[in-house]
Symmetry: C2
Subunit: 219 residues, 2 copies
């Protein structure tokens, strides 16, 4: 394989990873739409989408393996390919979190409606923005964008903590909303996990770009 | 680098990964001990251990990268090294879950004691056994052991679901135990995540051994 064919392979790998990111983001968005509408039918799209995400993950891993096997990569390419493999795994887990959200929405839809003042859509749009920004950082090779993602993670942690406190209080005051509140609490936690995956991606980007390990130093 | 030095490097990598597995398992055990004793002091060992786990992860990743860079690996070695990198990431996240458990124990220790009939130690020993078996499968190259781990995951999912139902009911009946029950519920979920990581490891082992992708087919 010539160097330019190898380079072409790397470009294709990057493109596939971006598409994978789009699928993961879409899954979170669909789960959130289903939450807002309390519509289990909208959850089906998330469940169906999981297979596509799993297939995309496998294709990316296989392609990364082929690239590693077919040419002795230079150190910089090696780090890039390893970053792709790790980011790929995190994106797949973002998809899993979206499935968890959708499962909770199915439970919620079976329960009597309850007024719980939790802004799940805001949290969802924040964590999706983190995933997008982390991928942007990777594609553009900009560690400053990755650093921004690490900062946003603190915001999401705060949102999740506030939600937790608020819902706990609601359950104590009115046990009849326990099930509803628990489902919302778990959705909040699932979204917080999405933020953790975005943070992992940002740390991998920093690791890849700087050649230093920012994973456990920056935060 | 000669082939035999490369082989020696692979052996060392395997040994480091086993030690990493031991650290992760120990963290879960310590978190559980802290839970049983409701002792926040025991949690400190988990928090302190996180740094050691992070360091171990970085060392393994660096070593894997060096091995990939220093010799054009054969396909079988390539798959092995990639499996190590993935398993390594899962073990680090097992450590993170142990930290989450310990954080919940700190919260629990500040609350009045409550009688909640949840067998967290049984769940913890089950998920730790899964991690150990998944690593055994990797070290011994035995897909049958990995398959057993996948089966155990269903058991843990059932335990977690039962715990969820039981604690929800407790909260409804007696709102004064809401906070305690929520913390126990989240510990149960953290342990269920450990089982998920063990499952990921088992799937990576199957992928590595069979050369086929068992990740989304076997379950």
């Amino acid at each position: 394989m010539t160097r330019s064919r190898f380079q072409h392979g790397l470009d294709e790998l990057k493109e596939k990873l971006l598409r994978m990111g789009g699928l993961a983001e879409q899954a979170v968005q669909r789960g959130t739409d289903a939450y807002q509408a309390r519509d289990p039918k909208l959850c089906q799209a998330v469940f169906a989408g999981e297979a596509a995400i799993n297939t995309a993950q496998r294709e990316i891993d296989d392609m990364a393996l082929d690239l590693l096997a077919m040419q002795q990569p230079m150190a910089v390419d090696l780090r890039f390919i390893l970053a792709v493999i790790k980011i790929n795994a995190d994106l797949e887990r973002v998809g899993d979190q979206a499935v968890n959200v959708a499962e909770r929405v199915v439970c919620l839809a079976e329960l009597p409606a309850s007024e719980l003042a939790v802004d799940i859509p805001l949290m969802a749009s924040t964590v999706n923005a983190m995933v997008r920004k982390a991928l942007d950082a990777f594609i553009s090779g900009r560690p400053d964008l990755a650093e921004q993602v690490l900062g946003m993670d603190d915001t999401v942690d705060d949102m999740n903590r506030d939600t937790f406190e608020y819902l706990t209080e609601q359950m104590r005051q009115d046990p009849s909303v326990t099930r509803q509140a628990l489902n919302v609490l778990l959705i909040s936690r699932n979204l917080e996990r999405v933020a953790d995956h975005a943070t992992n991606i940002a740390e991998d980007v920093i690791f890849w770009i700087r050649g230093a390990d920012g994973r456990h130093l920056v935060r």
